[in-house]
Amino acid sequence: MPVIEYRTALNQALEEEMLRDGKVFIMGEEVAEYNGAYKVTKGLLDKFGPERVKDTPITESGFTGLGVGAAMMGLRPVVEYMSWNFSLVAIDQIISNAAKMYYMTGGQFNVPMVMRGANGAAAQVSSQHSHNLESFYAHIPGLIVMAPATPYDAKGMLKAAIRDNNPVIFLENEFLYGMTGEVPEEEYIIPIGKGDIKREGTDVTLVAHLRQVILAQEAADILAKEGISVEIVDPRTIKPLDIDLIAESVRKTKRLVVTEEGHSFCGFGSEVATQIHDLCFDDLDHPVVRVSQNENPLPYAKNLEAESLPSVEKIVAGVRKVMYRK
């Protein structure tokens, strides 16, 4: 099986879906002539031309709303945000228009639009360029939120997102773009809302998504040496959440740790913890433990950034805590 980068997997998904459906087009900053800020759209301008791969001005609200209108008329826009931080400029279009349209039109107009780009911290890019927006967007009914951790997931999930009839928030991560993994040559689709066991284990369930899956793997290796068997559950889709898969794992391990790069208050981990308390209260041997970013804007200095973000060490500590170990 070919081993490719995460960005290449996304690129393949885009190309395949554009070949399959003429209504799919791409727009965003630097997606065409520059070949994408992270090279996700590399080569697509040459293959599909400027009518379907469109460089936009740096006006996220305008081009996001343009995507909403185009989607209402039957096109299937894929909007790239160079980073999800910039989506905050367009948040009214995403929430008031894209998310609410199907409902407030009584089911008349749906918005089949994918919005994708890098989410979360990169390497020391400071406060304004490091937002984790999954909890923001997952809060809003009408949006689907996806966050693939591997090249395999990235390709299969992006294809599912493009074919879906709803607005999809598709979160990637700068650190993941260069990561490699096996991706089959034959076509496959990963259904929206289907989680994945990234590592089987028996002692602790560790829920992680996006880059946290990579950190969770490292933490699990360390913990294995201490005799703790960690099961990593990657929900892959944040909303709708595959809570059944998480609950099934918790019923087996009796312990749950949730790690996320976002802040803790009203974070994704709160939602998982609440739902697991509802479903598995009697199964739990320890309250749910959460690992997340500190409650401060992300600072620039390397040591302060590391202090703020979740890490392999913090995940290891969280697992030890849930195991009542020091």
Binding site: F25, S61, G69, A70, G74, D92, S96, Y102, G106, G107
Partner: protein, 320 residues
Amino acid sequence: MKSIGKEEALKMLRQMLVCRRFEEACLKGYQQKHITGFCHTYIGQEAVAVGTLNHLTEEDSFVTSYRCHAQGLVRGMSAREIMAEMYGKVTGCVRGKGGSMHVFSKELNHLGGHGIVGGQIPVGTGAAFAGKYEGKKVVNITYFGDGASAQGTFHESVNLAALWDIPCIYICENNQYGMGTATKRAVANTDIQDQAAGYGIKGYEINGLDAVEVYTKMKDIIAEVRETSRPVIINMVTYRYKGHSVSDAGLYRTKDEVKSFMDQDCINRFSAQMQELGWIDEDAYKALDKEVKAEIKDAVKFAEDSPWPPLDEVATHVLA
């Protein structure tokens, strides 16, 4: 007026009366507490909807703000389905899920009915983009108010449309107040058509109180946009007689000012012009108005008699 022709003029007069009587019925329904939430009426501005929408083809689309009932009626939605929406009934155009601000019709390419000032402007731009993408000779009319003309969404949209040759007609329904703030206190240059020059496109000012002027000028402008795919900005100067919404007592304008615009009423003016040509007389006008009032009365009755949405409706249409 002559270039419009008698048949089209009669249709327009009827459409304006339908809008006026519909909105009057909304105000009454609001006073009686049948209609709640927000309610923004179009009374005084009817010539704009009538003078513009009648030039669209079936495949063309349009989008507007929360002051959206009249555009729906003129485009061909029934007074029944819009009034039922006002009443929050399941027979409403969006099944009671939108209310006054969210009139939509997929069948008629009415893209709403939007509640955030300026939020609809990129949406209309996208609808026009979609038509061009699919190789059709279609246009979109994007309506917005003078208050929205200062929003970033307007400028971002016009920039995109000018850059990409998107056939979008940006009509600023300049009713001279953004809620209680006079345009001159909110917009640095109240000649909103001047914005066009900054984007290398054409801009026009039109007297939105004169249905003949709106209709005849917009006929040529829309034809040109359809042909050239170049967007335009229209400063459609008009006036609303009532408050911004029903909760607005309108204390920021004088009675004399309101009266001065009511003296230029678009329906009276249009009707008088028709009478001069002998296309309608006083009796025929009264008969037409009576017929329209009966249609609106029927719509109100329909809304009153319609059932509430069933409770399971609360969870449907969240995702497609």
